[in-house]
């Protein structure tokens, strides 16, 4: 009801000079933000037309606020990186017509103030959408992120330093075992000839192998911060610790206290410790590396926003390790998430919203038969939907044609542009002023294809992903490495299809913070039917697990001599 009130007030603010304007234009003349809000509501009503009672109108409003938050962010990003001329009509989430005397959509803070001026006592109801609440949410989210990362850093560093200390201890222990008797009671030791020397050499080489193996296995840059302790690593550290401690215990009791004189025995004791450490290393290799290699489960990763899905085969992993595996493959397999591609074409929505607009203006004073009204609206929506899919289809076909036309223009422009330059051959005598390095060559031919490129990117809604600078860099790259016509394929391939996320400029699109949501503890192993979700702000990846079935392979022996053939005898059929 508040919205309808707001809408009527907005409507009254239309300049009186207009004589019976069509509803759309009247609303366009209304202050921009109000109109975009109501459009958002109508859009939302159009999407969720099955829940049309008054309560959901409010919820729809606040949902739109969340939506607009992200959409506004996208718009900001887009605007910051746009170097081309402004396009007035940018998509269904932005205002298409400027109301007289109103600032553009980007200036969010002033818009909020204006709304507050208009809405005196009703601001309390619309807090879900006001600027203050949004900024508050942002702040809380940012502080939470900071706290989390600080906490994680501490625990990570603790874990790493602990492991390092333990490794150092384990490494130095055998040397200490062998050195201490020499230092403390050298005179009493029995002389130990060839066997000891052999043992010394073997200790030296085993320790070297252990060092190399540990370096290869453990000293790698961690690829992710896990939310929980990595169970196998913790297990191994405990094992090593116990091993070393028990060896020291026995050493202290049997050798130091009693001043063992058989030096060969001492050296053999040290060698046995090194052997045990090597076996622990072998265990580490098996647990950390080998066990996960043989595929046991098939993971299906679906992006919630637009439904792209991929399948992966993994072995026995814990949920958190499987999550990291999925993420590594996500950045390489999934095409980049383009929220602009999700929304319905403008023509469909505007037509719908204008129709609903007519209806909602009429019902501002009905409280008793609201359910009746809402049912009527649902029925009308159901009937109307018969036409909207038709419009959607034609709009889609039209869009396809537009994209193809623009793409054809782009390809022709690029081909033509590339014919303007060629690589300098040694025998060509050219003026030094005319010789260009790749960067200059790229700039020289960029102008002729810039317009076609810009139009194509705008039609396919890819313009936030490619700045002029990035296009120039890519052009320079292509020119440097190849000048044959194949380059046009290579140059354009990047723009014609939406590539994986990792291809685009690092800072903006490679988000590192993901949230793992799971019903089971994340250190549990994968099992059939486990579902977990990897969340980002705009979308989430839903991952479900299925066990690879157990194959019953049976053998059938075919004797090569058994392949024999005869002509078929006459068969007689009665009809």
């Amino acid at each position: 009801k508040i919205e309808s009130l707001k809408v009527t007030v907005d409507f009254l603010k239309v300049p009186l000079g207009l004589k019976k304007p069509p509803l759309k234009e009247a609303l366009a003349a209304v202050p921009g933000p109000g109109r975009s809000k109501s459009f958002g509501v109508e859009r939302h009503k159009a999407r969720r037309s099955d829940i049309m009672d008054n309560e959901s109108q409010y919820s729809g409003y606040s949902y739109k606020s969340g939506h607009s938050r992200s959409s506004r962010k996208h718009r900001d990003r887009r605007d910051r990186h746009r170097s081309k001329s402004r396009d007035g009509s940018r998509g269904d989430k932005s205002v298409t017509i400027q109301a007289p005397g109103e600032p553009l959509l980007d200036n969010e803070s002033t818009r909020g103030d204006e709304r507050d001026d208009n809405w005196g006592e009703t601001t309390t109801v619309v807090t879900g959408t006001s600027e203050h609440s949004i900024s508050h949410d942002d702040i809380t989210r940012i502080t939470k992120d900071m706290e989390d990362s600080a906490h994680l850093d501490c625990s990570r560093h603790l874990g790493v330093s602990l492991a390092g200390a333990l490794a150092l201890l384990a490494f130095l222990t055998p040397l200490t075992f062998m050195l201490l008797p020499q230092l403390l009671w050298r005179e009493e030791l029995e002389p130990c000839g060839t066997p000891c020397e052999g043992l010394f050499i073997s200790v030296a080489f085993k320790l070297l192998i252990l060092m190399l193996g540990s370096w290869a296995l453990f000293f790698r840059r961690p690829k992710a911060f896990f939310p929980r302790v990595f169970v196998f690593r913790a297990l191994l550290m405990v094992l090593v610790f116990l091993l070393v401690v028990s060896y020291w215990l026995f050493y202290g009791v049997r050798i130091l206290d009693s001043r063992e004189r058989n030096y060969q025995g001492v050296v053999q004791y040290a060698v046995s410790l090194v052997d045990a450490l090597l076996f622990v290393h072998y265990l580490a290799v098996v647990l950390l590396e080998l066990r996960q290699l043989q595929p046991q489960f098939t993971l299906k990763a679906v992006r919630s926003a637009d439904g792209t899905s991929r399948f992966y085969n993994v072995g026995y992993l814990s949920i958190q390790r499987a999550a990291v595996w999925i993420l590594e493959n996500y950045y390489q397999d999934f095409p980049v998430f383009n929220p602009a591609l999700l929304s319905l074409p403008r023509a469909v929505l505007s037509r719908k919203s204008s129709a609903f607009k007519v209806y909602s203006l009429g019902e501002e004073n009905t409280t008793n038969n609201s359910t009746g009204q809402s049912r009527a609206v649902i029925a009308a929506a159901a009937r109307r939907r018969d036409n909207s899919h038709n419009e959607y289809y034609y709009e889609e076909a039209e869009h396809e044609r537009r994209v193809r036309k623009r793409r054809a223009r782009l390809v022709v422009a690029v081909e033509e542009a590339f014919t303007h330059i060629k690589r300098l051959q040694e025998e060509d005598q050219k003026n030094p002023r005319e010789i260009m390095d790749p960067r200059e060559a790229a700039q020289a031919i960029f102008a002729s294809m810039a317009r076609a490129m810009q139009k194509y990117l705008r039609t396919t809604k890819q313009q936030p992903y490619h700045t002029m600078e990035s296009i120039l860099q890519h052009l320079e790259f292509c020119i440097t490495h190849d000048m044959t016509p194949k380059v046009r394929g290579a140059f354009l391939e990047r723009y014609l299809t939406a590539g994986p996320t990792i291809q685009y400029h690092k800072d903006r699109w490679l988000a590192k913070q993901w949230t793992l949501v799971s019903e089971e503890p994340v250190t549990n192993g994968l099992k059939d039917g486990v579902v977990f979700v990897l969340k980002r702000q705009d979308f989430s990846l839903v991952v479900s697990t299925k066990k690879i079935p157990f194959f019953k392979l049976s053998e059938e022996f075919v004797d090569p001599k058994s392949h024999k053939f005869v002509m078929r005898l006459q068969s007689e059929t009665s009809v």
């Binding site: 005898l569 006459q570 068969s571 007689e572 059929t573 009665s574 009809v575």
Partner: protein
């Protein structure tokens, strides 16, 4: 007069009205042959590489006998469908279509020329 027995082929058009027996429509003869069969086993064909469809048996008093079909006839067409290059099963299907009550066959028959000679001589 001399009777020279020579074989020659003549074409006959035979119209068989199917007989209803229970749930089936039967024609009253058996066929053999087909491009998936062994043509050397065919007792009725003159050319032992002929893979056509031949009538191997005609039931007594059946619709085929009544219409004039004889054992050893080679069926060339059934209701306009060619039967010279079909498999055995295809031939069977073309003859036993459920919605057809009448089949018109074009058959080739080898008959003795003796009769012609006699008429020529006399």
């Amino acid at each position: 007069y001399s009777a020279i027995l020579t074989f020659f082929s003549s074409q006959q058009r035979i119209e068989i009205h199917k007989l209803r027996q229970g749930d089936n429509l039967i024609l009253g003869f058996s066929i053999g042959g087909g491009i998936d069969q062994d043509p050397t086993q065919n007792p009725f064909s003159e050319d032992k590489t002929d893979k056509g469809i031949y009538v191997t048996r005609v039931t007594e008093g059946g619709p085929a006998e009544v219409a004039g079909l004889q054992i050893g006839d080679k069926i060339m067409q059934v209701n306009g469908w060619d039967m010279t290059m079909v498999t055995h099963d295809q031939a069977r299907k073309r003859l036993t279509k459920r919605n057809e009550e009448v089949v018109r066959l074009l058959v080739t028959r080898q008959s003795l020329q003796k009769a012609v000679q006699q008429s020529m001589m006399s």
